[in-house]
């Protein structure tokens, strides 16, 4: 049965059903409904919730809980995610599975509280110090938020790489009908051999650590991380193709913007203009194969990358398409959101 839920609350409930039993966070708009919901909900399922003294503390609580084998997560919005970056770097090096939700707001600085996609670089390129990545999803609906969140811990634990769900203020606040999945059976999950449950003794004791002071050891560890990222790229990359097979112009966008772009595609098609949409669902790994495939279609004349930023994902679009076709850019920032008509206008006027 479908029910009407706000994006943030739907993510929170999907997290619980997907096995989240520990949440650590700090208030920041526009994601507050996630900690608010989990502050009571987790105690109903035998989990725990702590409102931390800061985002810095919150991500380090996630480190501790995930290191002790629990399914732990945090959520925040742009400035708060910046504060978490050091902790995320430690989590990535220590190979701790966890989930981080970023309901992006406009920046830089304190910025605004309206929707934005200006944390794309931070999310997909590492974000903190050192060579590392997270698995980054850019869902475009409340239902997709639920579906991705529900499986996020499984994916994260499979590779021991944290998952980031990159939403925006609109996705967090919008209400849509959603189908909620059944609770996952956590009793079937295997014991994590690397976790500090506290009961490992002597030779079996486990150490959660990111200090690798020998250059050769640290180099090997970096290679291990990147071998894992390659495996993730092979197995987990997700992309939606909409009316691309005969398209002359391919719009590309993710998250909320992809839905606006899809409406623009329909309007343009109704006017006889052959436009399609390529929507990355995983932002890291970026769906490079889908992009080069479309770029190599003879019918395709150009790409238009549409973002709520000054142009961040466009770099991955250019790299993935190997610049085989021109890539134009249309963006709004500051918390302003384009309409489908804005996109239609940009596409038709740019083409004249």
């Amino acid at each position: 049965m479908k029910q009407l839920m706000k994006g943030n609350e739907a993510i929170a409930e999907a997290a619980v059903r997907g096995g989240c039993r520990a949440f650590f966070g700090y208030p920041i708009t526009p994601q507050n409904e996630i900690p608010e919901y989990l502050s009571w909900r987790l105690y109903e399922v035998g989990g725990c919730f702590v409102q931390a003294e800061s985002e810095v503390a919150a991500i380090n609580m996630v480190y501790g809980a995930a290191g002790a084998g629990a399914r732990a997560m945090t959520s925040s919005s742009s400035p708060g995610i910046s504060l978490k970056q050091e902790g995320i770097s430690y989590i990535c090096c220590s190979r701790l599975p966890c989930v981080i939700v970023n309901m992006v707001r406009g920046g830089p600085g304190l910025g605004g509280i309206q929707p934005a996609q200006s944390d794309y670089f931070q999310a997909t390129k590492g974000g903190g110090h050192g060579d590392y990545h997270m698995i980054v999803y850019g869902p475009n609906s409340v239902q997709e938020c639920v579906d991705i969140m529900y499986d996020a811990f499984d994916v994260s634990e499979k590779y021991r790489v944290p998952v980031m769900i990159l939403g925006d203020g609109m996705l967090g606040q919008i209400m849509e009908p959603v189908e909620l999945p059944e609770f996952k059976d956590l009793s079937k999950l295997p014991r994590k051999a690397w976790a500090t449950y506290g009961d490992n003794k002597g030779k079996d004791r486990q150490i959660i650590n990111s200090l690798l002071i020998e250059p050769d050891v640290l180099e090997r560890h970096n290679h291990l991380l990147f071998d894992t990222y390659k495996e993730i790229a092979d197995n987990e990359t997700m992309c939606e193709e909409y009316l691309c097979s005969d398209a002359e112009i391919v719009l590309t966008a993710y998250g909320t913007v992809a839905r606006i772009a899809k409406s623009a595609v329909d309007i343009l098609r109704s006017r006889g203009i052959k436009v399609g949409l390529l929507r990355p669902i995983t932002l890291y790994p970026f769906p490079e194969k889908a992009f080069i495939k479309v770029a190599e279609q003879d019918c395709v004349k150009e790409f238009v990358c549409i973002e709520l930023s000054m142009g961040q994902m466009i770099e991955d679009v250019k790299i993935s398409t190997q610049m085989k076709k021109p890539v134009k850019f249309y963006g709004r920032v500051g918390g302003n959101v384009m309409t489908p008509e804005d996109i239609v206008k940009f596409v038709t006027e740019e083409d004249k």
């Binding site: 503390a57 380090n60 501790g64 449950y197 009961d199 003794k201 150490i207 200090l211």
Partner: protein, 244 residues
């Protein structure tokens, strides 16, 4: 042959990397012995800091997590909340705990997290080579206050036990000095009481250990011990500040 003394099984066989005259080794030994005496073996997770004790995870013979600088109480909070029946301790120095980690220690204490924090106060940044710590004494020389700490320029030392004991969450707050056998014995008693507070789920427990750093103080080991006994104790009085 009767064995009258042996190394605690809660310590590994890894050789300590600490400098001659450093009291981290004594502190490690006391914590390990207490963990063994309270029967925590097989049910304990420790959290190591950033600083001289960063390699503590190599020495304590139990599951360990290495925290980022200052965040050990937050990491310990995360562990304890998902493993409430496991003994969880954090081991931190003065730069880690009283400077960069001030928010984490105060809030873990205020929340009454049922963890035990061992605080090594040697009034200096050791690992990075002798910079001024939040607990550096007035007049004490450091590489970032080469003429001695001047409160006009460098501010004043922070008394953590006194600060922590004003909060509701902690149930045991005490300070000892690792300067002679009698005081070491008192320190062990305090550490044991602190862990018993955790075992009894009473509240947050905190033991500060005044410690020597002859290397960065530019002293002989004997002078350093005297400095702990006389100079440090005049600013950081010993005793139990809170017990509930």
């Amino acid at each position: 042959m009767t064995v009258v003394y042996k190394k605690s099984g809660m310590l590994t066989d890894a050789p300590f990397h600490y400098c001659p005259g450093c009291t981290h080794g004594i502190a490690h030994k006391l914590v390990a012995e207490v963990l063994e005496e309270i029967g925590a073996e097989g049910n304990v997770v420790g959290v190591a800091p950033v600083g001289c004790a960063v390699f503590a995870y190599n020495y304590f013979n139990c599951d360990m997590q290495e925290a980022s600088h200052g965040r050990a109480p937050a990491v310990a909070t995360g562990i304890k909340r998902v493993r409430p029946d496991t003994v969880v301790f954090a081991y931190q120095g003065d730069g880690d705990l009283a400077s960069i980690g001030m928010a984490e220690i105060v809030h873990a204490a205020a929340r009454g997290e049922k963890i035990t924090v061992i605080f090594i106060n040697n009034a200096i940044y050791g690992m990075t080579g002798g910079q001024m710590a939040p607990t550096t004494l007035e007049g004490q020389k450091a590489t970032t206050c080469i003429y001695g700490r001047n409160p006009e320029i460098n501010g004043n030392p922070i008394r953590m036990c006194e600060l922590i004991s004003t909060l509701t969450g902690p149930t045991y707050v005490a300070r000892a000095a690792l300067c002679d056998p009698a005081n070491v014995r008192k320190a062990k008693k305090m550490i044991k009481t602190a862990f018993e507070h955790q075992l009894n789920k009473k509240g947050f427990s905190f033991v500060e250990l005044l410690s020597a750093c002859p290397t960065n103080w530019g002293m002989t080991t004997e002078q350093a011990v005297d400095y702990v006994k006389n100079d440090m104790q005049s600013i950081y009085p010993l005793g139990v500040f809170k017990e509930e």
